[in-house]
Symmetry: C2
């Protein structure tokens, strides 16, 4: 069993991003990512700081826009303002959002060319239609890791567990665009272990610690664990039981150190791509 | 084996649409569908006439806009003009299109609220995100027929053969939104018959006459045949071999008389819905 090293992948992407950011600066463009934070949530603040640190390292300017107890229109108004601001190249909006609005609705107000986390419906639809666009960074990270491992996707049987708009659905659509036969499973799937155990590629994004065990894994399968579940002692665990993965998978992404660091690096890659125009 | 009667379903939808159209007229609104025809293709002309006839029957005004040998910008310009025209409520654009442009790109210029055939990327993304929108009429027809047959979708195993942006992908996303476990198969799928033979619900949209036979069908499965392949004698055949379906399926949609008439009826239902605003 091979552990897939997300930190090494992220480091490679980060040096590529640094070079691109330096080139942009030399040409007079300061690549800038705006991060809208409509919440005082502590986990969100922690994540935002990690993006800021990575951006600083890569030479990408991050601009954090806090909104204290906003209404939906405060958020959408700010997203429209940033979309119109030529000094901003990428825009992401954190959750939780004000009651009664979804990220997809809010993100519809981000200019698609600046929607570097592929959060808006137009980005998702362009992805589904196979048109050029930014995919959600987490879903893009899944594909990035599969590409780096040189996994043959065409004709492979891929199972995605989880159907969220930010991970499961876009990951499934990206796998489909690369000619995998794709099954999407979720909480209502009747025989989950049987479905998963037929997967050459198993992508898990459900947000339940250790939800997937050895019985879900086909011997030799590539397992991509998108889960990031906080533990009581301040750590992180994935959706896949590590012992189960170790006993059955051909290769798998640990948590932490798998999909997570690649996601942040891709967010920055998307930002410099957007800045290049 | 039950033959699913698409003509009866269409007739029901058409009377509902007629009533809605009459109500709209009584309130001073003339529900209007604009049909952009950027081609002299005879099959397209035939299909456009069938929509015009159905619209007339339902009391929906159809406005056919022919473009002779247009460039991409002639088409997108017209779509933008119709999008801005308050007397037009629904807009569809026929294919084939000028060389080098896809329907998805062109349809991005249709106002999403008037995109009654769900052809634009924003419509597709809203559908994927579970937001209110018009689904492509053919994909919506698949779900309409399953609903009318009272097929339990939650937890069912659905296999969609074909991954086009107009049928396969949106049908898969609609089935997923209704809690089916969904597999999308296509030309690169390695063991198609085995995949299909596990489906409680089999949706076929590949455009190859008789492509699916008895060996692809689980005994008792519901088979929805979206194929409409012209025959030499001027008829139509589906993608499913009728003898194969008869010998194995629990219920299936014939061609002609299955998905086709429901598609046209739903296009008109979408138009009156758009006219209601």
């Amino acid at each position: 069993m091979k552990l897939i090293d997300g930190r090494a992948a992220a480091a490679d992407i980060m040096s590529e991003v640094s070079a691109a950011a330096a080139e942009l600066r030399a040409a007079g463009t300061d690549p800038t990512l705006a991060i809208v934070v409509p919440t005082r949530d502590e986990a969100t603040a922690w994540y935002v700081r990690s993006i800021e640190r990575a951006a600083a390292k890569a030479g990408v300017t991050s601009r954090v826009e806090h909104l204290a107890d906003p209404g939906a229109e405060d958020v959408t108004g700010l997203l429209r303002k940033l979309s119109a601001d030529p000094s901003v190249h990428g825009i992401i909006c954190q959750t939780p959002l004000p009651d009664g609005v979804s990220l997809e609705e809010v993100a519809a107000h981000i200019d698609t060319r600046k929607d570097v986390d592929g959060a808006g419906p137009t980005s998702l639809g362009r992805l589904a239609a196979g048109l050029p666009t930014f995919a959600p960074a987490t879903a893009a990270a899944v594909l990035e890791l599969l590409h780096r491992e040189q996994v043959e996707l065409a004709g492979a049987r891929a199972v995605v567990v989880g159907r969220s708009t930010v991970v499961g659905k876009p990951a499934a659509l990206l796998l489909l665009n690369e000619h995998a036969t794709v099954t999407v499973c979720h909480s209502r799937t009747s025989e989950l272990a049987e479905e998963c155990a037929e997967a050459d590629i198993l992508v898990v994004a459900v947000g339940r610690p250790g939800f997937i065990g050895a019985e879900h894994i086909k011997p030799g399968a590539i397992v991509i664990d998108v889960g990031t579940n906080p533990t009581d002692d301040g750590g992180l665990v994935g959706d896949v039981d590590p012992a189960g993965a170790r006993s059955r998978a051909g290769a798998y992404t640990p948590v932490p150190g798998g999909v997570g660091p690649v996601t942040t690096a891709l967010l920055l890659r998307h930002t410099v791509t957007a800045a290049r125009g």
